[in-house]
């Protein structure tokens, strides 16, 4: 039987901060996003105090005494460095590592024997703790969806599990699924779980009992696939590229509210370019481009507006030109004059492998030529910094940039970051 593992770094950003400042151990710590100052990581102590994810810093006082909470500004370059170290350690021991986010990766297990896998993974957990200083949880199971649930169990019970938990025996899977709220299942988002709860489906176990034809009719093939995965049927691996990343997103909260059309548009262009670059880095193409913009919910004095618009590409693409062109078109559909904007984002979806693109019937572009151009631009930017060569509408120094005080310059020197110790 093929087994999948999921490794998940516990409270990752907080754990990174603790590596360089052990005084934070045992204390209630939150990491705040750079601009809007919302909680993006919490230590277990902060979770126990009732501080929710996404909570704006100024609202922490409504949940607990803010003097008891250490509030830190995010240092993404450092988190990225530690993340790469964790991933390289895993990569040396297991196969097919597919990094799913900065602090999570799926992989396949090397042995048939469950005990042998368990011993290997327990040693990996200890190794990562020693080598990098980051606590991790690992789950493994016959499907990725179950592996993710197993990793939650490992994370909740670190002492009993030593950070590794496996879900392979059907009896064990049944028990855990009965205790798993439907909203905790990978692929079941907030809206979907609300809809399922309305139908009386509260746990993952109840969800597996639903007739699959009904799931497909009410929701989608993807949701039905999640259901099959919970029943132990490995289906996301059938086409790993489409499932590895369902979407690529780039978004940012602006330092201040922006009202000018050009400034918001410029931000959208930069996000679109960054997304396109990522597509090419990962050798995938996107089938649709979504642009969204929103105001500031905390500013009751300003009229609030938020909207998004999706455009399907005639042919899936990773070309900056194509992505930017369609992002601009989508932007034209969502932007309204007279409102203030605090956030914008570009989301690329319908991601597939770039090998064997299905050409659209009425599509006459010279793809090979465009691809060569894009590779040349990526190479130049890779060598000389990320904004040396760009397409025309780009204002990388625009108003929308995050506040300078938090913005870390890229550096080629040894001192990528320094911890104040």
């Amino acid at each position: 039987m093929k087994l999948y593992g999921l490794i998940d770094c516990n409270n990752f950003f907080v754990s990174c901060e603790r590596v360089f400042n052990p005084m934070l151990n045992g204390r209630s710590v939150v990491v705040l996003s750079n601009n809007d100052g919302c909680v993006i990581a919490r230590s277990n102590e902060a979770k126990a105090m009732g501080i929710p994810m996404g909570c704006p810093a100024f609202q922490i006082k409504t949940h607990c005494d803010p003097r008891q909470v250490v509030q830190l500004s995010a240092r993404h370059i450092m988190y990225h460095d530690l993340s790469q170290r964790v991933m390289s350690i895993i990569g040396a021991e297991v196969e097919n590592v597919d990094q799913y986010s900065v602090d999570e990766a799926f992989f396949t297990l090397p042995y048939e024997d469950i005990e042998r896998n368990h011993v290997l993974l327990a040693s990996l957990v200890a190794k990562i703790k020693q080598y990098v200083g980051i606590p991790v949880s690992i789950g493994f199971a016959p499907t990725r969806t179950l592996a993710k649930i197993a990793s939650h169990v490992a994370k909740k019970h670190p002492r009993i599990t030593d950070g590794v938990y496996w879900l392979v025996r059907p009896e064990a899977i049944d028990i855990i699924l009965q205790r798993t709220p439907i909203g905790d299942v990978w692929g079941i988002g907030r809206r979907l779980s609300a809809s399922l709860t309305e139908r009386g489906i509260n746990t993952a176990a109840q969800f597996t009992q639903m007739p699959s034809a009904l799931v497909r009719r009410l929701y989608s093939v993807a949701v039905e696939r999640t259901q099959r995965e919970l029943k132990g049927e490995d289906c996301v691996s059938i086409n790993p590229v489409t499932v590895a990343h369902n979407s690529i997103m780039n978004s940012r909260t602006f330092a201040h509210v922006i009202t000018k059309r050009n400034e918001v548009r410029d931000a959208v262009v930069v996000f679109a370019k960054m997304c396109a670059k990522r597509l090419r880095d990962e050798h995938v193409v996107a089938g649709s481009v979504t642009v969204y913009i929103r105001g500031d919910h905390h500013r009751e004095d300003l009229p609030y507006y938020a909207n998004s618009f999706q455009i399907k590409l005639p042919t899936p693409s990773s070309s900056t030109m194509t992505i930017v062109q369609h992002a601009l078109q989508a932007f034209g559909n969502v932007f309204r004059e007279g409102f203030s904007y605090r956030k914008a984002g570009v989301l690329l979806s319908d991601i597939t492998s770039s090998h064997g693109i299905q050409l659209g019937l009425f599509d006459t572009k010279d793809y090979a030529r465009q691809q060569r151009l894009m590779e040349a631009i990526d190479n130049i930017n890779g060598h000389y910094g990320s904004h040396v060569v760009t397409l025309a509408p780009d204002d990388s120094k625009g108003e929308w940039r995050p506040e300078k005080s938090h913005f870390q310059e890229s550096s080629r020197t040894l001192r990528i970051y320094t911890a104040m110790l």
């Binding site: 360089f20 052990p22 005084m23 450092m78 460095d81 170290r85 964790v86 390289s88 350690i89 190794k127 020693q130 080598y131 990098v132 200083g133 080629r412 020197t413 040894l414 001192r415 990528i416 970051y417 320094t418 911890a419 104040m420 110790l421």
Partner: protein, 147 residues
């Protein structure tokens, strides 16, 4: 308190490029080595020479003089390999009661000590109550002879 003037700032290492330099394989005893004596021209990669385990290797710059007799001077760069298990006598970056310090780990009959390499500094007893961890073992010192 060990010595307040030792501060460490910890960095990661940019090993995106290999740094090669030519190696003289001749024994240097006195006088200048003759290139003809040994195998001249083998390139060594300094990153590979100094870093055996990139995922576990960090860098720290020393501020302070408590370790000068061990060859660690103010301004030197330490290469720290967290994958190494600390042993008695190792020089390590330690965290004790809120401070980072670099010292020699000494195990005695009555417990653990952090030993400086400078007679002007006292040896520090690590009491069981203290908040203590060995952060990482120092594997190399990079010292500039000319400043």
């Amino acid at each position: 308190m060990s010595d307040e003037n030792l501060r460490l700032e910890i960095s990661r290492i940019d090993d995106s490029e290999s740094l090669s330099t030519t190696l003289f394989e001749s024994k240097i005893q006195a006088g200048f080595p003759s290139p003809a004596q040994g195998a001249y021209g083998d390139a060594i990669d300094l990153n590979r020479e100094l870093i055996s385990n990139p995922a576990a290797t960090f860098c720290a710059r020393v501020i302070g003089n408590s370790m000068i007799d061990a060859g660690i001077n103010d301004g030197d760069l330490l290469i720290i390999d967290k994958s190494l298990t600390p042993h008695n006598g190792d020089i390590a970056v330690c965290f004790i009661d809120g401070d980072f310090t670099v010292k020699r780990i000494t195990i005695k009959a009555d417990g653990l000590y952090l030993t400086p390499a400078n007679k002007q500094f006292p040896e520090l007893y690590v009491s069981p109550e203290s908040n203590f961890t060995v952060w990482g073992v120092v594997s190399h010192i990079i010292h500039h002879i000319t400043r």
